[in-house]
Every structure is written in C-alpha cells, then in structure tokens.
C-alpha cells in the first residue's frame, strides 16, 4: 500500500512536470467551451456557405445541438488527445530504463500498473467532467434543457469508454519499447469494434456504443438500460487489459533478469 501511494505520487509529479496534465485539462476545457459555441455559430456558417439565391430555413440552435457537438467533439478530439497523452504510460519507463531499478528493489509489477492506471483514470475523470460541466453551464445559460433526458447517464457512458481506452492503451504500452506501438494497437482495437458495430445486432454488447449512442439517450430514443451489456463488457475488458499490462511488465522484467 505504501509503495502504491509513493508511486502514485511520482506519477502525478511526472505528469505535472512534463506538462501533460496542463495539456489534458486545457484541451478538455477548450472543448467544453467550443461545443456550445459551435452549436451557436453553425447556422451562420451554413448561411455563409450557401450559394446565392438559394434560401433554406435553418432552425435556431437548441440545447440538443450543443450536446450533439459535445458527443461529436469529445470522442473525435478529446479521446484522441487522451490516448496520445497516455500512449507512453509504460513504454516511457522502458525507453528511459527506469523500470529495472524499481522492480529489482521489490516493486511488484501489479502495484506499478495499478498506481499508473489509477492516476491516468483520475486525470481523465477530472478533465472529462470539467469539460462536461463547462458545456452544461453554457447550455443551461443559453438554451432550455428541459427536453433532454438522462444527461448524467449519457455522459457517464462516454466516461466509461474513456476508462476502457486507458486500460487498452496501458496494456498495449507494456509490450512496446516505443509509443507508436501502443497507438497502433489501440487504433486497431477501435477499428475492430467499429467493424463489429456494422452488424446492428452486436450494438447492445459493443463498448463502442458507449461513445456513439449518447445522443439517443438524450433524445429519449434509447433508455440508459439498453447499454447495460456494453457497460459490463467495457468494464470487464478494462480489468482484463489491466491484467494484461501486469503480465507485459512481468514478462519484460523476467527477461531482463535472466
């Protein structure tokens, strides 16, 4: 337990000193402001791109447009930045050769992985809900939100998908000595889930639904309970990936000592 706390402290310091914490929060706060702004500006932009003589009626933006931007921007840009920032979460330790010292002095691979994952997930939680609250605040101020349903569940599901991605990138990162490897593997996992999602029957079980079905929940087309299997599978896979990361580190340290 003491090792766990000490290592977590080291991780947090590292993220502050490499400016990654600042970048993560700044990007998510920018996204939080951009969502309602884009929703507000979209009719003007569309109007400017229309050829002359053609008039179409564009409805005034509503609260739902703001949330559509949120559930488009956060998966497209926010999650990409998240994966980029945590891509070197374990492989950086291989690159800098800092792992052997710690493991030979009795730090268990499991403690190491768990403390790293805890810190990464805490940072994601902070940045994501910060982004959510900013968008919520602006949307509440400018529009009437009474039509939407289950704001919390829709946001919670995207957060769970982020947790899943962090576990995935950690597992991939523990097998590579560079961080391009973990990016490629995480990208491949998302692509595979996307291909699976082309079969509509699998959508109830696919973790990817957690990042794509959010607007259905807000609009009342789907109820939060429809995604229970996706949530379960995403959480189970997160635990499995964390286990894989521990195996990855054990494998490397074993090979070094032999």
């Amino acid at each position: 337990m003491r090792q766990y706390m000490v290592f977590m402290n080291k991780e947090i310091l590292e993220f502050i000193r490499t400016y990654k914490l600042l970048v993560l929060f700044a990007v998510f706060m920018i996204l939080g402001i951009m969502n309602p702004l884009t929703a507000k500006l979209l009719p003007y932009i569309m109007g400017n791109f229309m050829p002359e003589g053609l008039t179409i009626n564009i409805a005034d933006p509503t609260a739902m447009d703001s949330w559509t931007q949120f559930y488009k921007n956060v998966p497209q840009m926010g999650l990409v930045v998240l994966v980029l920032i945590f891509a070197g979460i374990i492989s950086n330790e291989y690159i800098n050769n800092t792992l052997v010292n710690m493991l030979t002095k009795g730090l268990k691979p499991a403690t190491l992985v768990l403390s790293k994952v805890t810190v990464a997930m805490t940072m994601w939680t902070g940045a994501y809900w910060c982004c959510f609250l900013i968008t919520y605040g602006y949307t509440e101020y400018y529009w009437d939100q009474s039509k939407g349903s289950h704001f919390f569940f829709a946001a919670l599901y995207l957060w769970i998908f982020g947790i899943f991605l962090i576990a995935c990138v950690t597992a991939a990162s523990s097998f590579f000595k560079n961080f391009y490897g973990s990016l490629i593997v995480t990208g491949a996992v998302v692509v595979i889930m996307y291909i699976i999602s082309l079969a509509p029957k699998t959508n109830d079980y696919n973790p990817l639904s957690l990042a794509s079905g959010n607007m259905n929940i807000l609009n009342g087309v789907a109820s939060p309970g429809d995604y229970k299997w996706s949530v379960a599978i995403a959480l189970i896979l997160s635990v499995v990936f964390t286990g894989v990361a521990i195996l990855g580190i054990s494998r490397v340290s074993f090979r070094r000592w032999k």
């Binding site: 400016y19 309602p36 602006y138």
Partner: protein
C-alpha cells in the same frame, strides 16, 4: 457590436486557454533546445500556428529528454 458582445463569454476564456497552451509550449521549446526530431524554428511555427493540436503534439512527441 451586438453579435460581438454576445460571443464574448465564449471567446475570452477560449483565447486565454489557447494562449496559455501556446505560450507554455513556446517557452518550453526555447528553453529546452533538444528535440526528438525537428528543430527550434519548426517547433515554434507548429506550436504557434496549429492551435490546440500543435502544443499537444510537441509535448507528446517533440520534446526531448532532459
């Protein structure tokens, strides 16, 4: 004027955040002149001209080890 003041509550915090990101990155580029690839001029241009993604890419890929 009406439209400008309508968007000020968005634009001011947005500008501040982007400036914080860009300035932190530029200061870091200038004070730590060893990069994984590229040189000082390229990184200053990237960080200043590509908003949001520029500083992210610099801090993740560009910065060298101390």
């Amino acid at each position: 004027m009406g439209i400008t003041s309508e968007y000020l509550p968005f634009i001011i915090p947005l500008l501040i955040l982007q400036l914080v990101l860009a300035i932190t990155a530029v200061v870091h580029v200038i004070r730590h002149p060893n990069y994984r690839f590229g040189n000082k001029v390229i990184w200053i241009i990237v960080v200043l001209c590509v908003s949001i993604i520029g500083p992210v890419v610099y801090f993740v890929f560009g910065r060298g080890e101390e």
